[in-house]
Symmetry: D2
Subunit: 352 residues, 4 copies
C-alpha cells in the first residue's frame, strides 16, 4: 500500500508498505480521508520524536477492511473512525475517567493515549490498524459526511475539550489565543459551552475571518492593538473569565495569564517545546485563586459519538476550516502547504 | 399610584396606593415594564398564599425614582432591574452559594428568596421598593431594550437554571416537558449548555412552533404520539440524558423519570401543588444512578448581568415569547388572557 | 465443587457442580472467603429474580486457580478479588464514567453492572469465574488480610459511594438511615468525606453501638425519640445537609426528605421493592433546590485499589462489622442467621 | 489602647492608639487572643507593603465591645471571631462564589478580601473594628476554647482550602510541601478529604513530628532522602495524585510539579515573592492533563462555622500547633521568636 513515511527530521517520502493483517482483537481500516495535523508538522520538525520509517497521520475516516478474531459487531464495509487518542479502556487512567492519559493494559504504553501515527503506524497510508477497536471503533451515521466528522478525531475533540476543561459558565467572557485549527475548535467549544463573549486573537486575516464563523464575537489583531488592554476595556477592567492557550508558546501562555481576572482559568491545549514562565505579577503572588489546566485530546468511541451528535444537529461545522483538498498521491504537497502556511491554508483534507 | 391588588382567591382589583418612600438602604423604582407570570396565576388561584391587599408582580424593568440613605453608586434616573428572587447576600444560604434559598439577614424570611410580589409589594404598580439593592439592583446597558431583558428576572433565569443544574454535557439528549414560558427558557438553556438534541413536548401548535425558535430540534405532540416510545426510538433504546420538568404536574414529572436513561437526570423547575409519586419501574429500584434536582430561580445582580451578557451577544432572544402587549391600565385584561390561555398567548408584556 | 445453589423462593441447597474452566480472556478463582449479603437475602425472598440453579454470592477474596488464553500479568496463585459490580470497560456507561451501569460489550447485559451471583455463577462455591478480568481483577497486597478487604467488594464500595455521590462538604451534618451493613459503610464514608456531624438512626442496640465505632457522633433510636425533631434541634432548626437512605423503604426515604434543609441532598443506596412517594411538604413544592441521587455499587480494579489504600492506612476498618464466622460447609446456617437477624448479627464471614 | 504598630521594614513598635468607635453598621471588638502569622512576617520583611503606622494581625478571638447603629442580633459581650479574609457579601466575587477575592461594595477594595491588619487596622491591639460584620461576625459556642478556634481565621481555613481546591478524592496520595503552619493545616485538610496516603515533606524534626499528629502517614526529610524518587517509589512509579505547595518558593512549587502523576493537581497556597518557572519536563509539554490551582483564605461567617463544627467534633485539633504563648505586652518577643524560628516554634498564641 502507498504510505507517507517519516524518514528523519524534515524528511518525508512516499513508499510502499505491506497492508497490515488483522490479528486477534484487531481490525484493519481502509483509509478514505485523512488530514495533515499540526502534530504531524511537530514530528517533521523533530519537536516530537518518532521512529524512522513511521507512517504518520491520525485524523481520518475509513472503511472496515478486515476484522480479526475475537471482535463482535464489526463488519467489513462499515464506515468508521476513531479518535487520534485511542484509550485501552482498562488501565488506571481509563478507569479513573482520564482516558486521554491511557498507558495501555500493561501500563507501559505512552505516556498519553495518542499512539496512532506516533508509536504505531498512522493514517497517512491506504490502510491502518485501529488500536483497541472495542473501545474506539466508531460507526459513522449515513447522514454525516467524511468532511463533517474528519476533524473531530483530534483538533475538534481537543479544542472543544479546552472549553470543557475550562469549566466555562454561560455568559462567561472567553479569550482564545490563537486562531489556528485547534484555537478555532476551542472557539466552537466556547460557543457550545454558552460563553457570552468570545474574543479570538490572531493576526492572519483569513483566520480572523473564519474565527467569526466558528463563533467568535470579536477577533483582535495583536499586530494592531494592545490585546490585554482591549480585553480589560471590554470587561470593565476586570479581565476575562477564561483564556484558552491554543498555540504552545511562552508568549501566548503568558498573555493568557495576563488576560484573566482573579479566580479565572487558563485552559491550555497548546503543545510546548520549551520551559514556561509565570511572571509574578500575572499570578497575584499565588493569592489570586487562579487555575491553570491542560488537556490532551479526549478519545474513545463515546467521545466520537458525542461530537457526531453535535455534527448531526449542526451545532458544530468544523468542515468550514477545510481550505485545501488533495488526493493522497499529493500528500507531500499538502504537507508543504500546511507546514509553510501557504495560500491562507487552515486545514487540508486528503482523499483517497 | 395605580396598583393591581390581590383581594382573595380569584379577585384582583386596580386600586390606588401611596408611592413607597425610600428608607435607610432602600431604593424606590418607577416601573416601566412588567409581565404577568405563571406564579401570579398560582396566587390568584389560591395555590400560593399571599396576604389580602398584596400588589403582585415580579418581572420588571424600571427607573430609579428615589435613593435612600446609606446607598452609594445608585442614581435617580438609572434604568434598572432585579431578579424576582432577591437574596440578602449575608445569610447562610447566600454565603453557601445557594442564594435562591435566602432566608434574609435575620434568618426568618422566606423560605426561599422570592419575596417581591409575594411577602412584599410587587411590580404590578407604578412604583415598588427593590429589596436589598446592594445585592440586587442591576443597571441595564443602553444597547439592550426593556423587552429583551424583561423575562430574565424570573422565567429566563429559572428555565436556564434548569439546564445548568441538570449539568448538561455537550452533545446530550435533553427532553423538556412542557413548552410554556419556563419550558421555552429551559430549551434556550439546553441550547446554551451545548445539548446535542433538544426535544420539546407539548400539544399547543403555537408553543410547539416557538419551541423550535428557542432551540428545540424536535417538538413532540403528546396528543398524537407516544412520547416515551419516541424518545427511546430517537436514542437507540437508551433514553434521554436529561429530562426537564417545567410544568409542575405528576404526569410530566413521571414522564421525565420514564424518559431518562440509567444515570440520567430529571431537572425540575415546575411548581407542584400535590404529592409526587415515583413508580418503582421508573427508578430501577433505586439502583439506576438516577438524579432528581429541583431549582428555584437564581437571583442577584451578577446573575442578571450574566444573562444580560447573553442578551447582548444574541445568545438568547427571550423577547420572541412576547405574544401580547398591554398598557398597565389594562393589566386585568392581561391577567385574563394569560390565566385562560386565550388567543395563543405565551407571554404578556405590560407597559406603563 | 461444593456450591450453595438457589432453588426457587426461600430454597437454598448445597450441591456439587463442576469446577468452571477458563476460556479465552477468562480466569477462574478459588474462593477463600465470602459473605452473605443483603442482596442474597433479597434473591432468596424472591424480591430480585435469578434463575433456578444459580450460585449466589458476590463479596469474596480468592486465589487465581486457572488463567485462560489472552490474559497477561495474571498468575496462578495470585491472591485477588473484584467488586460485585464488574464493568466491561468498553460500553457506553463504562466510557462515560458510570461504569456501575455497565451493559456489557454488546450493550445487552444488565441492566446494571452487577452480574456475579446474579446472571452468572457467584462466589458461594469453591470456585468461580471472574467477569472481565482485565478490568476487574485486583491483586491484594500481602499486608492486608482477607477480612479487612472482604466487604469493599460490595457494601463498602456502595456505602462509601453514598457519601461520595451526596457531595458531602467538610463540616456537613449527615444523617444515615439505617445502621445495617450498608448504612454502617455510609457512616464510614461520611467520615472519610469530612462530615462534621454524623447522625446514625436505628433501634438495634448492637447496630447503634457499632455505628459509633464506624464514625457516627450520635445514634438516634427511632423507637424512643422523634428523630426528625431531634435533627432539627441539633441543626438549630435548619435540617441536615445530607441524608443517606440505606434501607430501601418508603418510611426511611421519606424521613430522609424530612430531615434535610433547603438545598440539601438525599443520597439513596437502599434497594426498593415498591413505589416511592414524595409528600409535597417535604419537597417545598419543587422550589427547595433539593437533590435526590441514587447509586449502584461502583466497581472495577481501580475502585478496589482506591478502597484498599484506605484499608492499608486504617482509614476504614470494615472488618469490625463481622460478628459471625462460618465454614463454607455451614453456609446455610450463615444464611439463616443473617436472614432472620439472629444473635445480633451484622455481617457474616464465610471461610473455605 | 496598646497596639503593635508597623513602622517600616523590620520595625515594629508598641504604641498607644485611640480605641476605635463603632459607626453605622460597624462593630468594635476587644481582642482576647491573637497570633503572629507568617503574613505578618512577610509585612515586616517588606515583602508585602502596608502603610507606615498600620496595626498588623488578623488571627484572633475577641468580645464585642461596641455595636454601631444598623446592626441587629449582635450584643456587647458576645464572644466572636471572623476570618482574616472578610468578604463584603455583595461584590462580583462575593456573588459568584469566590468571596476570598472580594473587592468590596464599590469594587475598589483589595485586590483580594484580606484587609484586616493589611489595609485597615488589625488585631495586634486591644481593640479592632471587624469589617462587614453582617457577613463576617461569628459567634463562638461556649464549649469551644479560644485556642481551639484561633487558627481557623487564617491558616486553618487556608490550609484546609488547599485540600478542598485540590479536589482530593478518597484514597488519593497527597504530598504536602512543607510542614509549616499552613502546610500542617493542609495535612489536616487532606485527612478531612479522605486522602489515603499523606506524605509531608520538611527537614525540621519538630515540624516532622507534629505533621504526623496532624495526619501525615509519612514525613520525608528532604535533607536525607530524594523526595521525588521516594514519592514515585511509594506510588509504584506513577506519582502522587495531588501535591500541595505551602511554602511559596520556586523549589517547592517545582517539586510539586515533579511529584504528581499525569492528570494530577498542584494546589498552591504559598505566597510567592518572585516569578515562577515550569520546567517543560514537569509539564508533559502541556499534554499531561495537569492542573495548577491557587487559593486565598476563604472567609465569612459560614466558613468559620463550618470549621468550628469540625472543632466541636474533634475532627481538627489545630491548637496542637501552639508551641509558644505570650502576653500581648510581650508581642515583640513573639514576633522575634516566630520570625527567626527560634526554639522549635510552630505557632505562637498571644493572650490579653
Amino acid at each position: 500500500m502507498k504510505s507517507a513515511v517519516y524518514r528523519g527530521v524534515g524528511k518525508l517520502s512516499m513508499e510502499y508498505k505491506p497492508i497490515p493483517k488483522a490479528g486477534l482483537n484487531e481490525v484493519v481500516i481502509r483509509t478514505t480521508s485523512t488530514t495533515v495535523c499540526g502534530t504531524d508538522i511537530h514530528i517533521l520538525h523533530g519537536e516530537h520524536w518518532v521512529e524512522d520509517g513511521r507512517i504518520m497521520g491520525h485524523e481520518h475516516v475509513g472503511i472496515v477492511h478486515e476484522v480479526g478474531e475475537g471482535l463482535e459487531g464489526i463488519t467489513v464495509g462499515d464506515r468508521v473512525m476513531c479518535s487520534s487518542n485511542t484509550p485501552c479502556g482498562t488501565c488506571f487512567y481509563c478507569q479513573k475517567g482520564m482516558a486521554a492519559q491511557c498507558v495501555g493494559p500493561d501500563g507501559k504504553q505512552g505516556p498519553g493515549g495518542w499512539i496512532l501515527g506516533n508509536t504505531i503506524e498512522g493514517t497517512h497510508a491506504e490502510y491502518f490498524k485501529m488500536p483497541y477497536p472495542n473501545y474506539n471503533l466508531t460507526k459513522i451515521p449515513d447522514d454525516v459526511s467524511d468532511e463533517e466528522v474528519l476533524m473531530i478525531c483530534d483538533i475538534g475533540s481537543t479544542g472543544i475539550a479546552a472549553a470543557e476543561k475550562a469549566n466555562i459558565q454561560i455568559g462567561d467572557v472567553v479569550v482564545v489565543y490563537a486562531c489556528g485549527p485547534v484555537g478555532l475548535c476551542a472557539i466552537a467549544g466556547a460557543r457550545l459551552k454558552g460563553a457570552g463573549l468570545i474574543i479570538g486573537v490572531d493576526a492572519d486575516p483569513a483566520r480572523m475571518e473564519i474565527a467569526k464563523k466558528m463563533g467568535a464575537d470579536i477577533v483582535l489583531n495583536f499586530k494592531t492593538i494592545n490585546v490585554i488592554e482591549e480585553i480589560f476595556r471590554l470587561t470593565d477592567g476586570r479581565g476575562a473569565d477564561v483564556a484558552i492557550e491554543a498555540l504552545g508558546k511562552q508568549e501566548t501562555f503568558e498573555n493568557c495569564l495576563r488576560s484573566i481576572r482573579r479566580g479565572g482559568t487558563v485552559s491550555s491545549v497548546g503543545i510546548y517545546s520549551g520551559h514556561l514562565h509565570i511572571p509574578i505579577e500575572t499570578f497575584a503572588g499565588g493569592m489570586g485563586d487562579h487555575k491553570i489546566v491542560t488537556t490532551l485530546c479526549p478519545g474513545g468511541r463515546e467521545r466520537m459519538l458525542q461530537l457526531i451528535q453535535l455534527v448531526k444537529t449542526h451545532r458544530i461545522t468544523l468542515e468550514s476550516m477545510v481550505t485545501h483538498r488533495y488526493h493522497f498521491d499529493d500528500i507531500l504537497e499538502a504537507y508543504d502547504t500546511f507546514e509553510h502556511q501557504k495560500d491562507g491554508v487552515i486545514k487540508t483534507m486528503i482523499n483517497f
